[in-house]
């Protein structure tokens, strides 16, 4: 056998390999195209219904009413007192509601994480059920409970605690109570999920080293639950900023939040540029908060929705 035939063999082998790689590559390309074909209807819908209109609105927000390129739609946020008031109200409500959700949600999530499995799953149903009940239904329920002639007032008057009905609905307190009720599960569910992943061995080790229940909770459990708490807080806060239904129905026209302002400017006053500018700022703030959170914790802030 000469070196020549060995060379020949090798060339043939390499050619075969090349053909093989080519075929594999073509196959992979075809596979990618098929997968894209499966994705394309969904992507098209999202693109057409969400991305295009929002991009369009963004474009609109850059022009003033005369149609000239200007920043007037954004400048008015700093100039007009009514806009400034709306932003202050929105952030005030968001802070109060988020705080209330933490105060109510942390003990609940902690209890769920400490209960035996069966009891925990029953209690969890009581959290998930309102989560899936229409926001309208729950807002209506609170209206009925909190209004001037509502449950709480008539009970309190019957009991002789008060003589005049308290104004609980159609103002800030009504909005806060309703929104807290609706957003609480958004904090409890991710917090509970993260608490369940805390290794009990750490707690047991702490206790075996002499830490009491309080010290174990404060020094071990609480710090380990912070990432879950943070993700719940961010979700609730972000949802507060864009909340519409509850403030519109329970604010009695006195509590104007960001989303209501957007609805008013676009449908009542047909001022698309101004409404669009509000929307752009809301979107930017929302994405910035989510991005900041993701950057700080490296966690996926959207994870909660998969638990829905």
């Amino acid at each position: 056998m000469s070196a020549q035939s060995a060379l020949l063999n090798e060339t043939a082998g390499r050619a075969g390999q090349d053909l093989n790689t080519q075929a594999l590559r073509a196959d992979a390309r075809r596979e990618s195209l098929r997968l894209l074909a499966l994705l394309s209807p969904s992507l098209f819908l999202v693109f057409a219904i969400i991305i295009v209109p929002i991009g369009w609105l963004f474009w609109l927000s850059l022009f003033d009413e005369a149609g000239a390129l200007s920043a007037s739609n954004y400048a008015r946020f700093f100039e007009q007192a009514s806009y400034i008031k709306t932003f202050i109200t929105t952030f005030k409500v968001a802070f109060i509601v988020t705080g209330a959700c933490v105060l109510l949600g942390y003990p609940l999530a902690y209890m769920l994480s400490q209960l035996p499995r069966r009891a925990a799953s029953i209690c969890l149903i009581l959290v998930i059920l309102p989560f899936w009940t229409s926001v309208l239904v729950r807002t209506y329920a609170w209206l009925v409970i909190l209004q001037r002639k509502g449950l709480i007032n008539s009970w309190l008057i019957d009991l002789g605690v008060i003589s005049q009905p308290l104004s609980l609905a159609n103002n800030l307190s009504g909005v806060v109570i309703g929104m807290t009720h609706i957003l609480l599960p958004f904090l409890v569910l991710p917090l509970y999920a993260s608490m369940k992943t805390i290794d009990t061995d750490c707690l047991r080790a702490g206790m075996s080293l002499g830490a009491g229940p309080v010290a174990t909770f404060r020094q071990i459990f609480f710090p380990l639950s912070l990432p879950g708490l943070a993700s719940g807080v961010v979700i609730v806060f972000v949802l507060c900023l864009g909340f519409f239904v509850t403030p519109a129905l329970m604010g009695g026209g006195k509590v104007i939040m960001w989303a209501m302002r957007m609805e008013q400017t676009t449908s009542l006053y047909s001022n698309w540029g101004a409404g669009a500018a509000l929307g752009v700022v809301l979107l930017v703030v929302t994405l910035a908060l989510l991005g900041l959170f993701q950057w700080l914790l490296g966690a996926r802030a959207t994870g909660v929705w998969s638990s829905r």
């Binding site: 997968l35 609105l57 209690c123 239904v137 329920a141 209004q147 707690l203 929302t286």
Partner: protein
């Protein structure tokens, strides 16, 4: 990480925690319970507990043409949303699960974008777009808008089903001569069908309960139940809405239990 935590803290020591947690649970569940009970009251002034029981608000609901039409619109739209969103979302989840595409993360983000973007912005944007292409106040427009909002839930639910499924089984079927579609239909589908059904149920609830976008894009003959409820609540507190709310609560419980049963079997 399940079952008893087994720390040397007794349940008795935790009584305060259970009391506190119980109160918060009460806060979560009480409004719905109160509404359900009140809906059977005979009085126009919503009393609790009702002095006299009656079904008059349910009669008012079922006899009102306006409410009935709105309910029919909502059911139609929700059913069509399920029929569109479930196959589309399943196909998308299948493709994402393969993970071989270059922009998988971006695609995933795009498909779940409607969960992050404030709904009011989606509502105004959709209204604005529909005004130009004549889809406002149409069933088609509602179905498309609700499909976009339901898609992420279907995708996430089916994806979680696919994650616990071994894709090699489908490859085996194909190497044994089954076509792509046959392999999916006969081997993969039966194993992830519970996730698909759950995804479909979530799509139904999403569409049926959706308010904000419908507020902008529905009207006239296509007024959805939630839009009509919203407008009614702006004017006054009509006890008929208690009856409607009860029906909606029952519907949610029903759909969730079905999803739960399917989830457990899976």
């Amino acid at each position: 990480m399940s079952g008893d935590v087994g720390l040397p803290i007794s349940h008795r020591q935790r009584l305060w925690l259970y009391a506190l947690g119980g109160l918060v649970l009460l806060f979560l569940i009480a409004p719905s319970v109160i509404i359900v009970i009140m809906s059977f009251s005979d009085s126009t002034l919503l009393q609790f507990p009702p002095q006299q029981w009656s079904l008059r608000w349910y009669e008012a609901y079922f006899q009102s043409l306006e409410w009935r039409d709105a309910t029919i619109v909502s059911v139609k739209v929700a059913v069509m949303t399920v029929l569109v969103a479930t196959p589309l979302g399943t196909a998308a989840a299948y493709a994402i699960n393969r993970g071989t595409l270059r922009f998988n993360g971006t695609i995933n983000g795009l498909l779940t974008a409607s969960l992050i973007i404030p709904v009011i912005l989606i509502g105004i944007g959709t209204f604005f777009l529909y005004a130009r292409i004549g889809l406002n106040n149409t069933l088609t427009g509602l179905v498309i808008a609700h499909t976009v909002q339901a898609l992420p839930l279907v995708v996430l639910t089916v994806l979680s089903g696919l994650r616990s499924y071994d894709m090699n089984q489908e490859r085996v079927a194909r190497s044994l001569g089954a076509g792509r579609i046959a392999a999916f239909w006969q081997v993969t589908m039966p194993q992830i069908r519970f996730s698909i059904v759950s995804g479909g149920l979530f799509a139904f609830i999403t569409s049926f309960d959706e308010v904000v976008v419908s507020l902008f894009i529905s009207g006239g003959e296509t007024t959805t139940l939630t839009r009509r409820m919203f407008n009614a609540l702006r004017d006054q507190i009509d006890p008929t809405i208690a009856a409607i709310s009860t029906c909606l609560i029952v519907l949610s419980i029903l759909l969730l239990s079905v999803a739960q049963v399917f989830g457990r079997r899976h």
